[in-house]
């Protein structure tokens, strides 16, 4: 039994910021019908044909990231420049619970599918739009992608080391997290509909969702007048709230090898003393967190000199055995292929993609006791499920579908 098998999503999402949301809903059993444009071969979503690839083949059905973000969805094509395409979309909306999209603001509206127009088709429709700055406000026409969202919200700035430019995040954290907020918004609106019977339009601006994620730094400014932009900050590998020291990512033996260590309190420090057996750990000035914070640069230099010659996995295991949070900074291969936790969890399910074959994807970090998630089918190839959707759901006959195909509608 799946949690959301009673729900149908009419889905225009793409990339990761949108597609990630409906990936979760599909894994939970929702029927997600992903609509693509046959006239540009699905290139609303640039990931369709982009690397990584499983082998030497290239093409719009062979993008590895696209497959990762669209497992379990049905893929159909529909030419919304044609009147017949619009009519079919109206029929699909009439039998859907949710319409989801992450185009730039106003795109769906320009095709004639404003929220009001969709309400006329189905009064309790839930429409969730997701873009960088939202559908109103001075920047509604401005364009973003993950790194810009992170820049505008404070997340890029707070990820950095003193005396260096912002480090950024190294990936689109807010494409993932924007998708999480989109999934949350969709399900909140469904819950509201269950209770009241009414649908609504949810306007999700990724930059705003991101700006809520700065932790107490914002309140330190609004309450205490203390900005994060000040000399010596940010120092993202340290911890001021709560204060911890040593707390950082330190070098280990080998090339580009690192170990993260967090001494939460004086108990952890005592435990570290037992592992380190170095002269500096006995310095009484380091006995309290206040003392260690006061001389943190010097302390970090000691720790780095000590860890720099050690194997990161062995040292982290010794520290953890003593009770101190510590870990090797894991490379992708190490956390995916060699980590007993992710393996036992089943975090990397293998799905079957019609053209790519069997491919592992990101699974979900949750397990439900009754209605757990499943991922077995890869992303749809372009138009792969046209017959299933137009025939099975909308009741079109084979001859009619052939004609639509010939006319370039699907």
């Amino acid at each position: 039994m799946a949690a959301l098998s009673h729900l149908r999503i009419c889905d225009f999402t793409g990339q990761l910021a949108g597609a990630g949301a409906t990936k979760f809903l599909a894994a939970m059993g929702a029927q997600v019908i992903r609509i693509e444009d046959p006239t540009n071969m699905g290139r609303w979503d640039i990931l369709r044909g982009l690397p990584p690839y499983v082998d030497e083949r290239r093409g719009i059905n062979l993008g590895g990231a696209f497959n990762n973000h669209n497992v379990g969805k049905l893929g159909i094509t529909l030419n919304l420049r044609t009147e017949r395409g619009k009519e079919l979309l109206r029929q699909l909306i009439a039998v859907s619970d949710v319409v989801s999209e992450n185009f730039a603001a106003g795109v769906l509206d320009r095709w004639g599918f404003s929220y009001e127009a969709m309400c006329a088709i189905r009064p309790d429709i839930i429409y969730v739009s997701n873009c960088g700055f939202g559908h109103d406000g001075p920047y509604r026409d401005f364009k973003t992608w993950g790194p810009i969202v992170q820049a505008m919200s404070g997340l890029t700035f707070s990820s950095g080391l003193p005396g260096q430019p912002p480090a950024g995040w190294g990936y689109s954290y807010m494409d993932h997290t924007g998708a999480y907020y989109m999934a949350i918004a969709i399900m909140l609106a469904l819950r509201h509909r269950n209770v009241t019977g009414e649908g609504q339009w949810v306007d999700l601006a990724c930059t705003e969702a991101a700006a809520t994620l700065n932790g107490p730094a914002l309140l330190d400014f609004t309450v205490n007048g203390r900005p994060l932009r000040r000399p010596g900050l940010p120092n993202a590998n340290r911890s001021d709230s709560p204060p911890m020291a040593p707390h950082g990512i330190y070098p280990a033996a080998g090339e580009d090898n690192w170990i993260a260590i967090a001494c939460r309190h004086d108990g952890d420090w005592l435990a570290l003393e037992g592992v380190a057996a170095e002269p500096w750990v006995a310095d009484p000035a380091y006995a309290t967190v206040a003392g260690r914070l006061q001389r943190q640069d010097e302390l970090d230099a000691h720790v780095a000199a000590w860890t720099g010659t050690k194997d990161r996995f062995e040292l982290a295991a010794r520290l953890r055995a003593a009770g101190v949070p510590a870990t090797a900074v894991q490379r992708p291969s190490e956390r995916i292929d060699d980590d007993p936790n992710t393996a036992a969890w089943g975090l990397w399910p293998e799905v079957h993609h019609t053209e790519m074959g069997c491919v592992r994807v990101d699974g979900l970090p949750v397990h439900f006791s009754k209605t757990d998630w499943t991922m077995t089918r890869g992303a749809g190839c372009l138009g792969e499920h046209n017959a299933e959707v137009f025939g099975g759901i909308l009741g079109l006959g084979a001859a009619e579908m052939d004609q639509l195909h010939a006319e370039g509608v699907i």
């Binding site: 590895g64 430019p165 990936y171 730094a217 932009r229 894991q330």
Partner: protein, 428 residues
């Protein structure tokens, strides 16, 4: 966003037994209208002792960390080490739709408060457990913090500088905890929608290490699909192949992200016009290359290696962005670039977001009353606009045990019984 309309989770009763790892999940549900009761030990949750403090004066009601992570919740205290405390917790759980907890693995079972203890009398209960590595199985008992979750779970490998003698960087703001909490909230809502049709509750296990692992974008799928390893780069996507820098320091000392440089003729034209408008064209030495870019078709990036003229034109577009940025302040670069269709952004410090005209116009900063201090403070606001069931901070974080009388009174306890519990330090 200050409308009094109920949120989408109005009437949903949530019991929260969370430390710093799970409090964000409770906040997201509470701001969405759920009635969240946060259970703390009589001495208070440890995060009440986390700096920064209002006015830099420590106190159980002055931690800005606690304020941020506990808006819209009710607060009660209970000593779960005492039988009477556990009995009261059971009664609260019986009256709840959702229990969200982030206790160490095994702790709920030791207390006799685990899902099998609670479900028989409340089969509709949805219980969510948030732990660093899951409740049972490999690594379940390892200690972890936000730093070690992000370092061991993948995000830190992606994040840092071109110079690999500098360490990988933990992204700021507790995102390791946040990511686990986002999955907890998504899961609670899926389970709630299932309960709406089936009447059944269930238990949900959230693994924060796994959550970090599936929140690394190309870091994971590049290995899963092609067995290639991405490498970190300053301020841009870690990649198998290195890319050009995208961060530039502006005249006002702030960085901007210059995004994707011009490739199409009309984009070169707009950059050229921008330089003219700023009076900088004469001093930009590569202006003739921009003009060449205006005259030819879209630049095919795959041909840059073999066509040096093409590479020079493409490089001139990037140089023009850098040149403009170094002559204007960050806001002018951002607004001027976006107005010309370029995806550029200011690298704001978090507090600068609150003063940006767009976020102000959309009502993002909200005022939250603190009656105990006799004033209101500005908080970050709605993560989404949901007009018929609006997001709203309904009240500031609870004082220690602030809602004991109201919450336990609603269970039917008399003032005399509450006094007895206080005398025994079951509640505070």
């Amino acid at each position: 966003m200050t409308t009094g309309a109920p949120g989408p989770l109005a009437g949903v009763r949530v019991l929260e037994l969370c430390d710093e790892r799970g409090a964000w999940a409770g906040k997201l549900l509470a701001d969405a209208g759920a009635e969240v009761v946060k259970v703390e030990p009589p001495e208070g949750d440890a995060t009440r002792g986390y700096p920064p403090f209002a006015g830099d004066v420590p106190g159980s009601a002055r931690s800005l960390y606690f304020w941020h992570y506990n808006t819209s919740k009710r607060g009660v205290t209970l000593d779960l080490g005492q039988e009477a405390g556990r009995a009261l917790f059971l009664r609260l759980a019986d009256a709840s739709d959702i229990l969200i907890e982030s206790q160490p693995p095994g702790r709920m079972a030791e207390l006799g408060l685990d899902y099998p203890d609670l479900a028989p009398s409340n089969p509709g209960l949805i219980m969510v457990s948030i732990t660093p590595f899951r409740r049972h199985g490999p690594r379940a008992d390892e200690p972890a913090t936000d730093l070690t979750l992000l370092a061991g779970g993948g995000p830190a490998w992606n994040n840092g500088y071109d110079d690999h003698t500098l360490p990988p960087v933990r992204g700021g703001g507790n995102q390791g905890y946040h990511t686990g909490c986002h999955y907890a909230v998504m899961s609670v809502l899926a389970a709630l929608l299932y309960r709406d049709v089936s009447g059944e509750g269930q238990h949900i296990d959230v693994n924060m290490h796994a959550a970090a692992n599936v929140t690394t974008e190309a870091g994971s799928y590049t290995w899963l699909v092609a067995r290639q390893t991405v490498q970190r780069q300053t301020g841009r996507h870690a990649g198998v192949n290195l890319t050009q820098p995208t961060q530039v320091l502006c005249a006002d000392g702030r960085y901007v992200n210059t995004g994707i440089p011009p490739r199409r003729p009309h984009e070169f034209k707009r950059v050229h016009e921008w330089l003219v408008t700023l009076g900088l064209l004469e001093s930009f030495p590569l202006a003739p290359l921009l003009e060449a870019g205006m005259e030819r078709e879209r630049i095919d990036l795959s041909r840059l290696a073999e066509d040096s003229e093409l590479a020079a034109i493409f490089g001139a577009g990037r140089e023009a962005f850098d040149f403009i940025a170094s002559h204007v302040d960050a806001y002018e670069f951002f607004s001027g670039g976006q107005a010309r269709g370029f995806q550029v952004g200011i690298i704001y410090s978090p507090e600068e977001v609150l003063g940006d005209p767009h976020f102000v116009a959309r009502g993002f900063p909200v005022e939250v009353e603190h009656p105990e201090l006799g004033r209101a403070f500005t908080y970050p606001g709605a993560p989404y606009h949901m007009p018929k069931s609006p997001w709203r901070i309904r009240r500031r974080a609870p004082l220690l045990g602030e809602d004991n009388d109201a919450v336990f009174g609603a269970l039917g306890l008399s003032p005399v019984e509450l006094e007895e519990l206080r005398a025994k330090n079951v509640i505070s």
